[in-house]
């Protein structure tokens, strides 16, 4: 064989081999939503993973959060779901989760480093499966427009300040600076729960069954409705419904409120959208008689039973979970690490000074989370406890029903949802 012919033959062989490997590569489809840039960062890291693992192809399908909530359960039920998805609420799709334990090289590493969040993906306390990789730990906390406080000549309330102290302060700031409202909370039962637990809400009875309405809950609900009526809280956020409500973040970014109750997942947006528009700070969660807590949370990449490539899915997640990659991932996404070892300063964030201060403040808030809040977050049907609170308090704010009627409705809505989920 002449040399040129030989080179051509080798080139052809190489090309066909590469094509064959690509054709045989196990495809992992990932349904991904972003709070900031999580999907883009995962895609960037996965490109590196695929270079080192040419037998695996990771395809990140970016979609809105609403699609994860509404379309993913239907896809999974129809047996047509992705291999992996990024989710926050596990309950409704938990039965489709794949236990990764048999495919992981070192399940102990996962228990050691992600042990606080793994139970949120489990159907009950006795289950010890590893169903996914937490992509971040989140914590709710107030974010304050410091510039407005300075303009009003008001000091920020201290770390032990109560919700009533904060409401009085933001009302004064709003009045002094001609800002439309004092504060806004994300329209979410999860966000409300942190404040309610501070007031003493337990969400469960002594038997461990859901019991949303108690004196602590009522203390916060009555306050919240009154603050909406008074105009201290921006009514447009909670009083509206469906897709008609205002994005409280946009109101904060446009300096129309002095305090915004949201969480650590907003960090990327805060840095990008507000930039140097005004000074903002994350403050400790306001206190109530019971505690000064926010709500924990987090998103996870969960694997599904219907995947045809469980080993490859586990390999990819294992790679993402490894300490250096995970640290890089958290730095890229400006998220609080769900990895216990990295929570002690192991992530080198590339943030602005305000961003660094915010991460520190969010982490401090995370250390003060009440056990009640952890328990609530870990309840598989937590969504069934959160949603009626939003719907019914929204009706009460609008004067459609009284607060007492709202409490009755929340109780019956929760009972109906749990009964519907229990029907086999």
């Amino acid at each position: 064989m002449s040399t040129p012919l030989g080179i051509a033959a080798l080139a052809l062989l190489a090309t066909t081999t590469v094509a064959a490997v690509e054709a045989n590569a196990a495809k992992i489809r990932v349904a991904c939503y972003s709070d900031g840039n999580e999907c883009e960062a995962t895609e960037e890291l996965s490109a590196r993973f695929m270079k080192d693992n040419p037998d695996i192809e990771v395809l990140i399908d970016k979609m809105p959060y609403k699609s994860i909530l509404e379309s993913l359960p239907v896809q999974l039920a129809a047996g047509n779901g992705p291999d992996v998805a990024r989710v926050t609420i596990a309950g409704p799709i938990m039965k489709y989760f794949l236990d990764l334990t048999p495919y992981l090289k070192d399940p102990g590493y996962w228990e050691t480093n992600f042990g606080a969040m793994l139970p949120w993906l489990r159907p009950n306390a006795t289950d010890k499966g590893i169903y996914g990789l937490p992509t971040q730990m989140t914590v709710t906390a107030p974010i304050v427009n410091k510039t407005l406080f300075e303009q009003a000549g008001m000091p920020l309330p201290g770390p032990e300040a109560t919700w009533d102290d904060w409401v009085a302060a933001v009302a004064k700031v709003a009045k002094a600076t001609n800002t439309p409202f004092g504060m806004a909370w994300d329209r979410s039962g999860h966000r409300f729960a942190g404040a309610a637990i501070s007031m003493g809400a337990k969400y469960f009875d002594a038997n461990g069954d859901p019991a949303v309405i108690d004196d602590g809950f009522k203390a916060m609900a009555s306050r919240f409705v009154r603050w909406n009526e008074d105009g201290v809280v921006e009514k447009d956020v909670w009083a509206a419904a469906g897709s008609g409500y205002r994005d409280a973040f946009e109101e904060f970014a446009n300096a129309k409120i002095a305090l915004y109750l949201s969480g650590s997942w907003q960090l990327t947006r805060l840095q990008k959208q507000i930039s140097d528009g005004f000074d903002w700070v994350v403050v400790p969660n306001p206190c109530g008689p019971a505690s000064c807590t926010g709500m924990p949370g987090g998103a996870s990449f969960v694997a599904f039973k219907q995947t045809t490539s469980p080993k490859e899915v586990a390999r990819w997640l294992q790679w993402l979970a490894s300490e250096p990659v995970y640290a890089e991932w958290m730095a890229m996404t400006s998220n609080i690490s769900g990895h216990a070892a990295l929570q002690k300063g192991g992530v080198k964030y590339k943030l602005t000074p305000a961003g660094n201060a915010a991460i520190a403040a969010f982490s401090l808030n995370a250390s003060k989370i009440s056990p009640v809040a952890y328990r609530l977050q870990g309840y598989p049907l937590s969504g069934a406890l959160f949603n009626p609170v939003v719907d019914r308090l929204s009706q009460a704010i609008n004067g459609q029903i009284t607060l007492d009627q709202a409490y009755q409705r929340i109780t019956s809505d929760v009972a109906d949802a749990i009964a519907a989920a229990a029907k086999k």
């Binding site: 909530l69 509404e70 359960p73 239907v74 039920a77 129809a78 609420i89 309950g91 409704p92 009514k235 447009d236 009083a239 509206a240 419904a241 469906g242 897709s243 008609g244 409500y245 205002r246 049907l381 969504g383 069934a384 959160f386 949603n387 719907d391 929204s394 009706q395 704010i397 609008n398 004067g399 459609q400 029903i401 009627q405 409705r409 019956s412 949802a417 749990i418 519907a420 989920a421 029907k423 086999k424």
Partner: protein, 336 residues
Amino acid sequence: MAAIAPSAGRLLGACFGAVMNLPERPMRWAQSRLRDGRLGWLFVGPNLAVFGLFTFLPIAVDFWYSLTGSTELLPKNRPYVGLDNFTTLLACGEYLDPNSCVRDTFWYGVWNTAKFVLLQVGLMISLSLLTALVLNRKIIGRGVFRAVFFYPVLLSPVVVALIWKWILQRDGVLNAALRSTGVSSTNWLLDPNWAFFWTVFVSIWAHMGFYTLILLAGLQAIPRDIYEAANMDAASPWRTFYRLTLPLLMPSLVVVFILGMIRAVQIFDEVYVLTGGGPGTATTFMVEYIYNTGFAQSVREYGMAAAASLLLAGVLLVFTALQLKGLLRVGRGSPH
């Protein structure tokens, strides 16, 4: 070259003839086997199969879902619960007071929809008729006005809702305009009564052009000589309208009435984007209740949603029957 053309044409013709005659043999066979009355089924069969697959099968599935419970999606995993979903939906202390009902949101949806249908259909037909009467006259810029009134029909419901949301929101265009003239602003989408008013208004704005067009076509189909005769008899404009135009326009009005009513009962898209059903449940309509129950809640009650959709279908069926009856009556009474 000239000799080739006719032979190529003949060949092409023969091929075309052969292709066109292909169904002849099977048709002859079918004709010999099937009696005349049954042959029609052969022609409508494929269409019926497609229609059955995409219309009748989903209806049958919907019936099954309405009789089953649980949050499972696949029918085989859903337990039979009989009429439980219907009895839960219809359980009320006082039907006029949604708060006394087990599923209060459903009844808010029912009454809101009823109120919406009455207001929206009534106002829309009146305004469409008025607009059609004006646009049927020889006025300056008639073509432009016809286009202007029809233009919103071309817009997607989501676009319509977004445009009006920007106008009506707290710091929207309308409030800015009011403030600039010294009038205090109103939170149009947060006050339950105003929010309801605007859902009716936006819906009329978006769909009026379509119904105006139907009525305009109806008006133009009325022979001119009837009006000339009325004019010679010195009939007043009101009498001409009441005794001539309205009766002759009745077939078009019946169509507009029924189409408008069906569309109003099905209202969802514009309102979902504009108000999301709020504030509270002030603009929650039946279709939104079905959507929320079946697809947006964290615990999905497909059976309850299916039962609610069947109740809605029952209402639509009544309207359709009314349409058929109305059309038949108008047809019988028509002078043509």
